[in-house]
């Protein structure tokens, strides 16, 4: 006898509960809403927070894209896609433009998102004040009282130690001028994409049992001192050795043949698409 499975893995009650947390998160931009994180068939810390949001939102009409650090074909992205497609049968895509729902770890795609899309980011550490305050009870009070000295202090310490704010990723942001939020380990390069976003952006932390959101058109600003302005990673003068793209987030690689440093788009589907376009253009030129 075949066990009856639910559409999108969860029973409707569970989905409803997660959606309720999501609604609250949207209503209070940047505020961490606790939720009853469920056991998933993948290990906590591997995207279960994002996965639970995706499963609670997905419908039969949705078109899904899953990326892990910019790559559609990484093992984690693939296993998440398998689980979702097996339990929903939705169409899976790699092109950002084609997706209605995008689950991602550590990146916001290069192609600007639209108001018809939802981005779900996986979050390992949702609490931006954890580095200065170990107790959850205390950080809740700090947020409620808007006491954010600790977040600034962490940046100040980086300037003291490294001469600049040295957050590699997960640079804290102010949402709607009220809550300080961890944007998940996206590079600083992606922080500006959170500001006045056309798409709804949701954050899920499975292990820490938190959900939060940046609703469309919310103001998001990265923390910066008056004399140390916020700066994104700079790849000045470099471009992708495959597709030639500039002004995108590039990975630094070593050419296995020449041992030289080369750069390549971190967003693989973006790169692939540009390669295809370039090829088509070549072909058109040849036959023109």
């Amino acid at each position: 006898m075949k066990a009856k499975t639910h559409f999108a893995f969860f029973d409707e009650g569970s989905k409803k509960e997660i959606r309720r947390a999501l609604l609250k998160a949207v209503a209070i931009p940047g505020y961490q809403v606790p939720f009853a994180s469920r056991e998933m068939p993948i290990a906590r810390g591997w995207g279960t927070g994002g996965l639970q949001i995706t499963l609670s939102l997905i419908g039969k009409q949705d078109v899904l894209k899953v990326i892990d650090q910019g790559a559609d074909e990484s093992v984690n992205a693939v296993s998440i896609k398998k689980l979702i497609s097996k339990t929903t049968g939705v169409r899976l895509v790699e092109r950002t433009e084609d997706a209605t729902l995008i689950q991602s770890r550590h990146r916001i795609p290069e192609v600007p998102l639209t108001k018809n899309q939802i981005l779900v980011l996986q979050v390992p550490m949702p609490e931006p004040l954890r580095g200065v305050e170990a107790s959850e009870y205390q950080t809740k009070i700090l947020h409620s009282e808007e006491d954010y000295s600790g977040a600034w202090l962490q940046l100040f310490e980086q300037v003291m130690k490294y001469g600049k704010t040295a957050t590699g990723a997960d640079h804290p942001v102010y949402v709607n001028g009220r809550y300080i939020m961890a944007p998940s380990p996206i590079p600083r390069f992606d922080n500006p994409k959170l500001h006045q976003s056309d798409a709804l952006i949701l954050f899920g932390a499975g292990r820490e049992k938190k959900i939060y959101a940046v609703p469309p058109y919310a103001d998001v600003s990265s923390l910066a001192f008056d004399d140390y302005p916020f700066q994104v990673e700079s790849f000045a003068g470099e471009n992708c050795h495959l597709c030639g793209a500039e002004n995108v987030f590039l990975d630094e690689l070593e050419d296995p043949v020449t041992n030289e440093t080369i750069y390549q788009c971190n967003d693989t589907s973006y790169c692939l698409e540009r390669l295809n376009e370039n090829e088509e253009a070549e072909v058109r030129k040849t036959y023109a």
Partner: protein, 278 residues
């Protein structure tokens, strides 16, 4: 003193526990403790004034309620009842600051108060640089300029004789005396009119003690900051305080000019304290 007080404390009461019919209101206690229900009456109806530029000493044996009182004043712990007035701030004149919202209390703490804790672990982030520890107070007071904060921190650390080449070091690497001096620098960073010092010299070597006491004396002389200095050591009080309050079992049993109390103690307990010092 004819000036208006900076800080007025009225009937500050702090109890740990729910009280019972036997002890209600502080009856039938053993010292500060109800043997029936276990409630501790750490501070009972403490009232005093702090005047501009003075150092007020609070002396009393271990457990007499000195730290409990300081923590209530600094809003680290909630009072059971009582009032504090900061009449020199026009917006707060006549208002009991204990009754304000926690945000308002934080603003008072960041702008009006500095605190040096008995235990430096409470006052400092041991894993952050010494400059960062001082900057924290400046950040809390609204500063967002790294260069400014670094300059203020440096000059304060210099003032408390922390060598500048160690200013980016974490206080965990420092000796007890240095940690207390970093705490003092931090407490001074927002130019507070009122400074609370709880047993700053306890546990320090005698020579280091003298050093820290000189520093505090100098701060009063040069900056005119009003201070409440808590100690169970009369020698410290004698050196620093203009006026002194003696506490026992959570209550004030005697107060007056420090010299007077030392020369002519009235209460039997104070007499015992003073004579044991001589």
């Amino acid at each position: 003193m004819h000036e208006a007080p900076l800080l007025r404390v009225r009937d500050l009461t702090k109890q740990f526990g729910e009280a019972c019919s036997s002890c209600d209101g502080g009856e039938n206690l053993e010292k500060n403790y109800c043997p029936t229900c276990g409630t501790v009456y750490a501070c009972q109806n403490i009232s005093f004034d702090l005047y501009p530029g003075e150092i007020l000493g609070i002396v009393g044996e271990s457990g007499s309620g000195k730290s409990s009182m300081m923590q209530c004043l600094y809003f680290d712990s909630e009072v059971t009842s009582g009032a504090v007035y900061l009449d020199h701030i026009p917006a707060l004149a006549g208002k009991n600051v204990f009754a304000l919202s926690s945000q308002q209390k934080r603003a008072i703490r960041n702008q009006q108060y500095g605190m040096v804790y008995q235990n430096p672990i409470r006052g400092l982030k041991m894993d952050f640089s010494s400059v960062g520890n001082i900057a924290e107070k400046l950040i809390a007071a609204g500063n967002r300029h790294v260069g400014d904060m670094e300059a203020v921190s440096k000059s304060l650390l210099e003032h408390v004789h922390i060598p500048l080449f160690r200013m980016k070091e974490e206080p965990r690497n420092f000796s007890g005396g240095m940690q207390q001096r970093v705490q003092i620098a931090k407490a001074l960073s927002n130019n507070p009119p009122i400074l609370f010092l709880d047993e700053v010299t306890t546990g320090l070597d005698l020579s280091v003690q003298a050093n820290v006491l000189d520093l505090i004396k100098g701060i009063q002389r040069d900056l005119g900051i009003s201070m409440i200095v808590v100690s169970h050591d009369l020698a410290v009080i004698r050196m620093l305080a203009d006026r002194t309050i003696v506490m026992l079992n959570g209550s004030i049993i005697e107060d007056g000019l420090t010299d007077q109390i030392l020369e002519d103690p009235q209460h039997a307990y104070t007499q015992q304290l003073v004579y044991s010092l001589l």
